[in-house]
């Protein structure tokens, strides 16, 4: 791990808006070249603020951030040349066609026209928008617009791509399709990706490593599996045909922790790695002359990890946010 090239280096990064709102409270992390790194946390945790600082559109209050080896505060132009960002909002111009939007981006990076056209068609093909390329963006669906946003961000062949909530507000199928594109990107273009999300499934399925961020602080960094291992591993439930208490026998298996008898013949235990331990358990039980009639295994989810680390469920948080928005809307409507 130590040999890997660090492409984003963040140390004690802090942002205070207008001297009052402490959005990011001194975070530190490294992102290695070629990985998909996720910032996971509820709305308002400081994810977008962090991305805005790393993409040079917002000045940090204090701390250091280096992207591609350049300090974002001291050499913003060099940083901008090596990165690209897909903001949360749809930023493409609705009055222009998909292709024109691509060319607009190309000229912002100073890419010569012939080269830009070549790249534009290649990228539009990659995100399956070739047929819609000459239609105005206002006719695109949400998923198409998100794909166009991603293609637009790749026109400058960035080394680092920032995705701010890449699937916010998309339906389940479209979300899965976007995930596919993001994985393809990483494979085909050798891009390092930093994304923010408040969807557990997204962080779990896409990211090599995740930083859980809450109230402007990083609570924990690790791979999805490492984070889940924090919970003490997988949960195995087993039922046997016999009525004898086998708690003793089970707890003597080295990899098994915390055996709990649920009823006369059912036991629940925590194990480090379910796939490896389950066969051992079955074997031990059979050797003692008992019969297994049912075995089930549950992997811990990031949801549970989040709950463990922050004391709150991300889903509650999400719901709370939605309720808050609803209340705001109602309040505005009543005026």
């Amino acid at each position: 791990m130590s040999e890997r090239e660090v492409i984003i280096k963040v140390r004690n990064l802090e942002k205070i808006y207008n001297g009052v709102v402490h959005a990011v409270k001194g975070i530190s992390f490294d992102v290695y070249r070629g990985e998909i790194f996720g910032l996971l946390g509820p709305n308002g945790a400081g994810k977008s603020t962090t991305i805005k600082m790393l993409t040079t559109v917002l000045k940090p209050t204090s701390g250091i951030a280096e992207v591609c080896g350049y300090d974002v505060a001291k050499h913003p132009v060099e940083v901008r040349r090596c990165i690209s960002v897909v903001p949360q909002e749809y930023t493409s111009d609705e009055d222009l066609t998909g292709f024109e939007n691509m060319m607009l981006m190309a000229s912002l990076y100073g890419i010569p026209k012939a080269e830009a056209e070549k790249r534009a068609w290649e990228l539009l093909e990659m995100v399956n928008l070739k047929d819609a390329a000459n239609r105005k963006v206002e006719t695109y669906s949400g998923g198409m617009r998100r794909r166009l946003e991603i293609a637009m961000s790749l026109i400058n062949r960035p080394k680092v791509l920032f995705l701010d909530e890449p699937t916010l507000g998309l339906d389940v199928q479209t979300r899965a399709a976007i995930w596919e594109y993001i994985r393809k990107l990483k494979e085909e273009y050798d891009i390092t990706i930093l994304l923010t999300t408040h969807y557990m499934e997204e962080a779990d399925s896409l990211c090599n490593r995740i930083a859980i961020i809450d109230h402007g602080k990083i609570v924990k960094i690790g791979s999805p599996d490492e984070l889940k291992a924090l919970l003490g591993g997988d949960i195995i439930e087993i039922s046997i045909a016999e009525k004898e208490d086998i708690s003793e026998i089970l707890s003597k298996i080295p990899a098994v922790r915390e055996v709990k008898k649920l009823d006369t013949s059912t036991y629940r235990m925590k194990v480090e790695s379910g796939e490896k331990v389950a066969p051992q358990i079955i074997e031990t039980i059979l050797q003692r002359g008992f019969h297994v009639i049912k075995l089930s295994m549950a992997k811990p989810t990031l949801d549970e990890v989040y709950l463990e680390l922050t004391g709150r469920s991300l889903r509650d948080e999400e719901g709370g946010e939605d309720m808050w928005r609803l209340r705001m809307t109602l309040r505005r409507a009543r005026r």
Binding site: R81, V85, L104, E115
Partner: protein, 284 residues
């Protein structure tokens, strides 16, 4: 390498952003049509309705000497016997004001729609982003000016002095005014997501800018304190130039060189303020 060639040009991206800005205008027929017809309607309604010379000449029974006196008074005050012609010249400045004011709102929308965040993360210079807004306002203004001039002539604006050189000078003066105002007004929009902020300021300053200049009424008839205000108002110098060039009327400084120098000074200072401020404060 060809890839880095574009980066070395400090103005790269200006053309593309300007095209985007103007496309939003000319590709929407309704927006284009109304923005071109609006000043013409103003010109027709105001210029023709407030024909001040009629104050003296409506009564046909007046002796010819009185009529002559009336003509003389008009000439003394407005430099022309036609208030319509006097007002039409002022209208050109008015267009620069309204277009600059509405231009300042577009950057608020760019911010709200996320487009600003995207371009701020590209190597495009912050100055270029502001210049795009300023130039787009200026180009729109000049096209509107051309349309007004055509309609003004159709409605009776004297054509005696309409030579290519004089028309070119008129365009130059309006362009400088437009650049000055757009550079300053854009500052209202660079830090806010509230599109109402530029709007209320626009409402606040549009008419005062007109009334504290010679666009509608000659300065020499204004109270002393207002004359001072009028003399620091760039609209005054623009209108002055337009009247000298297109009507050969002299009721301001009467000196093209002084007028142009002052106007150019305004434009340089305002653009510098706009660009430097955006460099410092144009962030998310």
């Amino acid at each position: 390498m060809s890839r880095t060639a574009g980066y070395n040009n400090p103005l790269h991206g200006l053309g593309a952003l300007l095209h985007r800005e103007l496309a939003q205008w000319y590709r929407d027929f309704v927006v284009l049509f109304i923005s071109l017809i609006q000043p013409v309607i103003w010109l027709g309604l105001f210029g023709k309705a407030f024909d001040l010379s009629k104050l003296f000449t409506t009564n046909a029974n007046l002796p010819p000497a009185y009529q002559q006196l009336a003509q003389q008074t008009m000439l003394n005050i407005f430099g022309t016997t036609s208030y319509y012609a006097f007002f039409a010249a002022g209208m050109l400045s008015f267009i620069a004001i309204t277009t600059a004011v509405f231009g300042s709102m577009s950057i608020v929308w760019d911010r709200r729609l996320g487009f600003l965040e995207r371009i701020l993360s590209t190597p495009v210079s912050r100055g270029v982003i502001i210049m795009t807004k300023v130039f787009s306002a200026t180009i729109r203004t000049l096209i509107q000016v051309a349309v007004i001039l055509i309609f003004a002539v159709a409605l009776g604006f004297p054509t005696t002095y309409l030579t290519p050189l004089r028309i070119l000078g008129t365009f130059a003066a309006v362009a400088l005014l437009s650049m000055s105002l757009a550079s300053l007004l854009i500052l209202l929009g660079i830090r806010t997501t509230n599109y109402q902020r530029p709007m209320v300021v626009a409402n606040l300053i549009t008419l005062p800018l007109m009334f504290t200049s010679n666009a509608m009424y000659p300065i020499k008839l204004m109270p002393g304190w207002l004359q001072i205000v009028a003399k620091v108002n760039p609209v005054t110098y623009t209108t002055d130039i337009v009247r000298i060039l297109l009507l050969n009327v002299n009721n301001g400084t009467g000196n093209l060189f002084i007028d142009f120098t002052i106007l150019l000074g305004f434009a340089i200072v305002a653009s510098a303020i706009g660009i430097v401020t955006s460099w410092r404060y144009l962030t998310m």
